[in-house]
Structures are given as C-alpha cells and as structure tokens.
C-alpha cells in the first residue's frame, strides 16, 4: 500500500486553504476584534475583583485568548466542505469506488484543510499579538512568550497531537454528513460543541471548579486547551503526561470507533443524485 494517494489528498486541500489570501486578512481583522473585546472584558472583570484567586492570572488569560483566537480555524467546526458537496450531489460514490482506505483518504484531506487554514492565520496573528503589540507599547495586552524552551517544545508536540485529534473529530462530522446527506447538520452540531468545549468561548480553567475535571477529560480539550496549558505552564492535574496521555487516548478511541461507524454507514449508504 503506498502513501501517495493520501499525500496527494493532503496537498490538494492544503493548497485550497492557502488560496484565499484576502480571507486570511479578513479573518485576522475579525480575530483581532474578538480578541480585543474579550481581553477588555476580562481585564475589567479581573480588576473589579482583585482578591479572587483565579486559576489563570490576567496575563495568562490574555495569552490563552490570543492563542485560541489564532488557532480558531484549527477547530473541528463542521465537515470538510468537499465532502459536504459530494454528499449533496451524490458524487460521494466516486470516493467509495477509489482503491484506497477511505478513512485515511478523508483524514489526510481533512487534516490538510485544517492546517492550510490555520497555519497562515496562526503565524500572522501570533506576530501581530506578540512582538508587534510589544513594539507599539501594548505589551500588557500582548501574547506572552513561553515559560521555558522545554515547555514550548512540549506544547509544539501537544499541538501536533491536537491537530490530528481535530482532524479525527472532523472525520466524525464527515460521516455524519454522509449519513444525513447534508453538511448543515454537522455545522449546527459541530460549531457549538467545538467553540464551547475547546475553550474558545471562555478558557476551560475559568469554568466553575466542579465542572473543570469533566471539561479537561472530554476530547475537545485536547485540540487547543491542553497545548495552551502546557505553553503557559499552568498545572494540569497529574502533570503534562496526563495531558499528552489524554490526547493520545482520545485520538485512538475516536479513530477506532469512527472507523467502525464509517464501515456501518458505508454499508447502508443510500446515494442521492444521478
């Protein structure tokens, strides 16, 4: 079995992601706006209650928010658009006929799509929110550097796992799309789940204490929350190993169950269109 078809699928979607340069700039403006609104809100909440010992300091909450904003397009918001179209038009039948492992074929395309969207945006926003913000005198509002080089390296490993995990969750949306024959349902379910459970809406460590263990243990925490915690050096119960372990666990569990679900879906798939 050769890897080439999967690399081709990856390359194609990666290029599609890089194609829309104006969309990247538009996204940058939107993310800076949301970042600014959120940061000002946090700052005034923190300043109004100076005695509260929060699990994240204000500075950490700001860095957390910037990294979340820069990785927004890495979140599994819905199915791969190409698969959504294929499901609606019936072209999905071509994918079924290909002599490739369909899970890996779709997974490499989904991963490339996420990375092609997220990498340019993340690099740009990190530059703007980090060094550039410091230069123009907004250092107190900027994205802070990592605690240490080791933590930065571990965070990089963790975000790689996070990207894989996100692509695996996108696979679940893809299968849902193939089942319901419309991509809209996957967006309606995927976007709220991803935005809330990844910590995009509010950093996961800031939720009420009773719910925090559950929030850490669910799969979406592995996409961005665990890498950011490692980057910030905020304690994870059980240490960094637990964080990476959780990511690996979800990656394997979702892949195994997802493959089962996919097989079952493909066996009873009714294709529409002619």
């Amino acid at each position: 079995m050769s890897l080439r078809p999967y690399l081709t699928a990856f390359g194609l979607q990666w290029k599609i992601g890089l194609r829309y340069r104006i969309a990247v700039v538009a996204g940058l403006v939107a993310q800076m706006w949301f970042g600014a609104v959120t940061l000002m809100a946090y700052a005034s909440v923190y300043h109004a209650a100076p005695d509260v010992q929060a699990p994240l300091s204000l500075r950490q909450a700001m860095t957390y928010t910037w990294i979340q904003q820069s990785l927004f397009t890495l979140l599994p918001l819905g199915c791969l658009p190409a698969i959504g179209d294929a499901a609606r038009t019936g072209a999905i039948v071509y994918d079924l006929l290909r002599p490739v492992d369909m899970w890996n074929w779709w997974l490499s395309a989904s991963l490339a799509r996420l990375l092609g969207n997220a990498v340019p945006r993340a690099v740009l926003l990190t530059c703007v929110a980090g060094p550039l913000a410091m230069l123009v005198g907004l250092g107190a509002w900027s994205l802070a550097g990592p605690e240490s080089l080791i933590l930065a390296a571990l965070a990089l490993v963790s975000i790689t796992l996070g990207a894989l995990l996100s692509a695996t969750i996108v696979m679940w949306w893809n299968i849902l799309t193939a089942r319901t024959l419309s991509p809209l349902g996957s967006y309606a379910v995927g976007t709220p789940l991803a935005v809330l459970l990844s910590g995009m809406l509010l950093p996961l460590p800031l939720y009420p204490d009773w719910i925090r263990p559950f929030l850490l243990a669910q799969p979406f925490a592995g996409i961005t929350d665990i890498p950011i915690r490692i980057y910030l050096g905020t304690p994870i119960p059980g240490g960094i190993a637990t964080g990476l372990g959780l990511q690996l666990f979800w990656l394997m569990a979702l892949t195994l169950l997802g493959r089962l679900w996919m097989r079952q879906t493909v066996n009873r798939l009714e294709v529409q269109g002619a």
């Binding site: 969309a23 538009a26 996204g27 403006v29 939107a30 706006w33 949301f34 600014a36 609104v37 959120t38 000002m40 809100a41 005034s44 909440v45 923190y46 300043h47 109004a48 209650a49 509260v52 929060a54 319901t180 419309s182 809209l184 349902g185 967006y187 309606a188 379910v189 976007t191 709220p192 935005v195 809330l196 809406l201 509010l202 800031l206 939720y207 009420p208």
Partner: protein
C-alpha cells in the same frame, strides 16, 4: 413602478407569499431544520453559560450584577436574531446575486430591490437564538433589582431599534458587494462581533471601542442605555438615565443611512455576470 392594482400584488402581499414559500421550503427537510434550530439554541445559550461562569468565579461582571448583564445579553441576541431572520438575502447577496449576475433579473422586476431581497428567504433557523435570548432576558428581568414598569414599552422598542440596526449592517454589507463582488467576512465584526460587544456593559471597554459602538455603530443606543433605563440603573459614565427611552431611534437612523447607501450603490451598479 406603479401598475394597475388588479394585475399586481401589493408589496406586503408579495412579501407574505415569498416568505410563505421560503418557510415551506425550509420545512422540507424537517430533520436538518430541527438540528439547526436546536444547535442554534444550544450555541447561544452556552454563550451565556460562559458569562455566568465568569460571574460565578469573580462574584460580579466588573461590578455589574448578573440580572443587568442578562438583560443586555438577551436584548442584543433577540434583536440580532430578528435581523438574521429577515436579512438572509443581504447576507448571501455577494455570492448569490452579484457574482452570478442574477441581480440583473431582480432589477427587471417592478418592485423595490430591498423588498425582493428581503423575500429571498425568511430564515427560521435563528429561532433558536431568539428563544434563548428571550429566555435570558426574562430571567434577567426576574433577577434584576429595580425593574421599571416602563420596561414593557422600552424593551420592545429597543429590540426593534436593534433589529433595524443589524439589518442596516447587513444592507450595508450587501451594498459593499457591488465593489468587492464576494461578500466580505470582515463585516462579521459588526454583526457577530456586535453581539459579542453588546452583551457586556459599555463601561468594560476602552474609550476607542466605547466611541465606536456609540457613535459609529449605535449599539449602545439600542442595548446599553435602554437596559439602564428599564432597570433604573444609573450610568457610571454619567449619561442621564432617561436617554435610554429615546436612544433606540438611533438604530432606525442607522438603518435609514444604510438604505440611502444601498440606493446609491444600486444606481451605480454595473453587471458583473454574463
């Protein structure tokens, strides 16, 4: 534009027919519609859970009680959901009308282009946001300490002003499409970003943002001031409370300005299609 009344429908009747057809079309896929509406309800309700969690941890939202914040949150969400329901045609205007050239066909019809685009779709999906906004608004009125009886008049007036303002943003976005052809996602800063900013009290933001959402986009006029008036809450920034009874008119003024901009843009329209 005037024709013999026996042969043509009046504008409200025409709109009612278009809206009816659109509702029937959306209910054709009841499963997808149900998932979308529930997804919409859950996403937006979770948004308030984030604010509640901040309140829970810090004891207040920058010194504001949860009732007032809930009223603000409910107001901006209900207003936006109404605009989303009515203004779908403007949202997709760039991609579906300008790029394809099908706007030319609308120009041939003896009706206002605004009416025809309003009739593009009466979108049912935002009903989720609407219901949860209403739910949070009522809960906020229940929790807030000094609710005025006049709130029964001022809040609907504020919601109408807010819906007009957001609809104005969508019309402005569509007018921009004559220049940019494709829709500009940056405008999301004013719609979704406006909802994000509108749900927090004005005092939490820096001066540049306060000015922007008071004088350029009259968000504070349709949200913050009417809420203060309804709850008899003094403005920490020093504006008299009674201003909230009149300020929603600014939302309609903004709408009017955007309609003028639209008419100018249509007058200068040169087709892009074939």
């Amino acid at each position: 534009m005037t024709q013999s009344p026996s042969r043509t429908l009046s504008a409200p009747v025409l709109y009612r027919r278009m809206a009816g057809a659109s509702i029937v079309a959306q209910l054709r896929y009841p499963g997808t519609f149900a998932i979308q509406a529930i997804g919409n309800f859950v996403t937006t309700l979770l948004g308030f859970f984030g604010i509640w969690s901040l309140f829970h941890r810090f004891g207040s939202i920058a010194g504001w009680d949860i009732g007032t914040v809930a009223v603000l949150y409910g107001l901006v969400n209900v207003a936006f959901s109404l605009a989303e329901t009515l203004g779908r045609g403007f949202e997709v205007f760039g991609g579906e009308y300008v790029r394809t050239g099908s706007f030319d066909r609308l120009l041939l019809r003896p009706r206002s282009t605004l009416l025809l685009l309003l009739g593009h779709e009466l979108r049912l999906r935002p009903i989720g946001r609407f219901l949860q906004g209403l739910f949070v608004l009522v809960a906020g009125l229940w929790l807030a300490p000094h609710v005025q009886w006049s709130a029964a008049l001022v809040l609907p007036w504020a919601i109408a002003g807010g819906a007009a303002m957001f609809l104005g943003v969508l019309i402005g976005q569509a007018a921009l499409c004559f220049i940019t052809v494709e829709g500009l996602e940056v405008v999301n800063v004013l719609t979704y970003g406006g909802v994000e900013a509108g749900q927090y009290p004005l005092t939490m933001f820096g001066r540049w943002l306060r000015r922007f959402i008071t004088f350029i986009l009259p968000l504070a006029a349709v949200c913050y001031y009417p809420a203060l008036f309804s709850l008899n809450h003094a403005d920490p920034l020093g504006m008299p409370t009674w201003i909230g009874a009149f300020s929603p008119a600014a939302g309609f003024a903004f709408f009017g300005v955007m309609v003028l901009a639209w008419n100018r843009a249509v007058a200068g329209y040169v087709s892009s299609g074939s």
